[in-house]
Amino acid sequence: AESLYTPNLAYRTGPFAATGIPLMNGQADYMTLLNERDGGIGGVAIDFEECETGYSTEKGVECYEKTKGKAIVTQPWSTGITLQVLPKTNVDEIPILAPGYGFSPMADGKVFQWAFNVPSGYWDAADMIVQYLEQDGSLDGKKIAFLHLDHPYGKEPLPLLEKLAAEKGFELLPIPVGLKEMQNQSAQWLQIRRERPDNVVMWGWGAMNAGAITEAVKTKYPMENFIGVWWAGHDADLKLVGEEGAGYKSISWSFPNPEAPVMQEIKEMVFDAGLSQSNEEEMQGVFYGRGIVMSMILAEAIRGAQENFGTAEIDATQLRWGLENLNITEERLEELGMAGMVPPFSTSCANHTGHSGGWMLEWDGSKFVKVSDLLTPNVDGYSDLIASAAADYATANAPWAMNEECSATN
Amino acid sequence: MLDAARTDETLLEVNNIEVIYNHVILVLKGVSLTVKKGGITALLGGNGAGKTTTLKAISNLLHSERGEVTKGSILYQGERVQDLDPAALVKRGVIQVMEGRHCFAHLTVEENLLTGAYTRKDGKAAIEQDLEMVYSYFPRLKERRKSQAGYTSGGEQQMTAIGRALMSRPETVLLDEPSMGLAPQLVEQIFEIVKSVNENEGVSFLLAEQNTNVALRYAHQGYILESGRVVMDGPAAELRENPDVKEFYLGMSDDGRKSFRDVRSYRRRKRWLA
């Protein structure tokens, strides 16, 4: 092949497009940069084709089937699609790259030999949020509301949160938001007003975030007690309320750095050359920056695999090796011109997540700023949970091919 | 009978039209007729002969039944009207009373009548006056003016439909089976009303009727339709005397009217066209 085919099951349409677009733009622009600047990776161009899913699982599967012939990786881009293609990839032997989303037990590389949710998973996020809250004192006896999309994605962290609630003695109050009620959350916020939780943790996506944030402002919920997962930290959602949203937080494993050299290069070689669909404002944002990091992770895996196998035209299995042997260090980030945009992390055959950790970001009224040092998840606290959930999955889907060579330590 | 009211000015002219339903069903196979100004023209023929279709073709109501005029032309006062929409035709004074009492079921009888005046611009008073006129023609309607038309009896609905047409102060009325389902008294009464409207207001009528007997008594001119073709036409008085018409449409044979009970053999319909 004269190029490496790394399709992206993108969604720039549908009810979740608002949050999808900046991410897709970031991803695409980084790959374009590599193609423009270096002629691809290791001399081969990257064919970063997008297949539109509209966040619909059905279309997602169609895209997967359509692209899997040539693809060396699949990026399903929604927890629903990920769950659906997960068993298929295990048979088709194509790695899934799901940065920051998907099924948390995918961290177990022994069971999920083809799936990667680098650099951090949802359980990591939940753990870090709880850690952050603990910084202000014990959580014992406190009440934490968990406002989430009533959808596999929103329910993902529940097992861990329940476990932490039992351990740390806080009361967990799950509040679901239906897909059709995303824009009309007054009932949920009335409940929050009634229950007076000390904190609200949000697992929202798409239009739900904007709805929740405006509703929080309306009901005068103290913004500083309101924390979202990394998908609930989109600049545009906060701009809706502007100043009034100040204090809102979001955990994130990425941070935009408009001054970073890579950004300058993208600006010059991609944006100014008219090869980008993004715009200046969007490029400052958290999500665009995160998109860039995602593509960087894929690019690094490809590069690693190329070097290891001594061939530029790697295949899916070789890429899996690359994804299992990522080692993104401070130095490497520096070289890539991306210092500070993602915490350093590394993966292994057994650890498909990397558990990079992240920062707590806070909306200051006009943009997100870092308000914490690097938080790292306490993975040991729930590695059992990961292992047992992964094992359950394997049993339910027997016969399930596993990577027996891996030692089970994370 | 009423030949005095007849003028020779042609109001409506239908030239050799062909109508196809649903792209395949050919119903009218070349129908031509003329309606004289100030006259009453009757369109006669058995079931399915194409009377309703002819009237709908004239008033441009075929479209919504997936029918279309594929050949021929229709002229009203010398102008082609085929491509007008029905509303425009009403504005020119042509209104149709449809077969089967199409009333607005949820509107009251009075509101039904008022919709007839929709295209009129001559003010409330005039409309009010015409409403009274309609009520004087059909006192039964006045009694039921406040009931929803959907709940009135068949005959009442028929009166409502005719009254509604008169409310538009038409120049020409296309009446489709006005006598259907009406009590005998009322049939005469409706034809009397047609006659008096025709004589007093100079309104021309084209009426499709099964009740040949009555129709030919009140009409000036008649056309007989069979299977989508005009098979006979002429002044009503002449048609009444035609032996074929007598036998097949008036139910009279040489020895006068027979009892329905005595018709012991089925009549074989005589076909003008094979």
Binding site: T13, G14, P15, A17, A18, I21, P176, G178, K180, E181, M182, Q183, N184, S186, A187, Q188, L190, Q191, R193, R194, G206, A207, A210, G211, T214, K218, D237, L240 | S59, L61, H63, S64, R66, D85, P86, A87, L89, V90, I95, Q96, V97, M98, H102, C103, F104, A105, H106, L107, E111, N112, L114, T115, Y118, T119, Q148, G150, Y151, A161, A165, S168
Partner: protein, 317 residues
């Protein structure tokens, strides 16, 4: 269990009357917002028996057009005017391209056609406006923001000025529509048209004119609705799903009734909020708002098959 269902909720209500008032107010406002969408439906249904599924997307489309025009640097009120022009063009186009060729077809076919319109508008709208969430130009339109905080019973009741405005505007809109339908010649024609297309045609009521008019009015209502919803939750295609919320409102109130739309909207808005807060969340795991309205409407229909204010179904042979 018994107490949870039959006693505790009432106790909760009495114990925190300010909270109850807030719940009722939120219910009222959502109810009005549902009713606004339902109004557009009703008008079109009345005049053509078309169950216009596209009303929801028309709301999005109107709001996006407004915001989009404003983003091009056109002053807010001129944008509103231009949006109305766009809605008019839309009405004309729909009438010409979709409705006219389908005159006289069964209800379900027309219903389907409006779903076709919905899809088309989604694709068309996203092509033009993109999928990003946009901010409604609330302040630029001079719509009051901010809130009034009352303290009944020593508690707390927050009234958004925006919501108050919506309630007032919606009320005016409804009164105007009622007057239009019941006291004008055009209004009568609209009602007649709903009963019998053919007969309406035969008395000279022009389908074209009335349909364009009705769809245009529905477009205006859509714009008002779009501004109201957009100011609360931003403008994006996700708004389209709120159209589903109008369905039970319509059925409960009666498909042909303006009054029904309002009463149905308020009933559903308030009751579903009360149910969710006092029963749904504590007992059923929450999120009952997704179905409560439908089940409520269903129960009411079992007793009144034409809805509370709908026209009696005339059954005769």
């Amino acid at each position: 269990m018994f107490a949870d269902i039959f006693i505790n909720p009432w106790v909760d209500m009495v114990e925190a009357p300010d909270f109850l008032m807030q719940v009722l107010w939120e219910g009222l406002v959502s109810g009005i917002l549902y009713a606004l969408i339902a109004l557009g439906f009703v008008l079109i249904f009345r005049s053509s028996r078309i169950f216009n599924f596209a009303q929801g997307i028309m709301v999005v489309f109107a709001a996006l057009t407004l915001v989009g025009l404003f983003a091009m640097g056109i002053p807010a009120w001129i944008s509103v005017g231009l949006t109305l022009v766009v809605m008019f063009v839309l009405a004309v186009t729909i009438e010409r391209v979709v409705l006219r060729p389908l005159v006289g077809q069964p209800d379900i076919i027309l219903f389907m056609a409006t779903i076709g319109i919905t899809l088309f508008l989604i694709g068309f709208g996203e092509t033009i406006f993109g999928g990003e969430n946009k901010v409604m130009i609330t302040e630029e339109l001079g719509i009051p923001t901010g809130d009034t905080v009352l303290e009944p019973f020593g508690g707390l009741l927050i009234l958004q000025h925006l919501d108050i405005t919506v309630v007032v505007v919606a009320t005016l809109l409804v009164l105007a529509l009622l007057a239009f339908l019941n006291y004008t010649q055009m209004g009568r024609a609209i009602r007649a048209l709903g009963d019998d297309h053919q007969a309406a045609l035969s008395v000279g009521i022009s389908l074209q004119t009335i349909w364009v008019l009705v769809w245009f009015i529905a477009g205006i209502i859509a714009l008002v609705t779009g501004i109201a919803w957009g100011a609360r939750a931003g403008v994006s295609f996700a708004l389209e799903v709120i159209a589903y919320k109008a369905l039970p409102v319509l059925m409960l109130g009666g498909l042909e009734s303006i009054t029904g739309a309002i009463v149905g909207g308020l009933m559903i808005g308030i009751l579903e909020k009360l149910f969710e807060i006092y029963w749904g969340q504590p007992l059923l795991g929450g999120n009952t708002e997704t179905w409560f309205a439908f089940v409520l409407a269903l129960i009411v229909l079992l007793f009144r098959p034409q809805g509370l204010f709908g026209e009696r179904i005339i059954e005769r042979v």
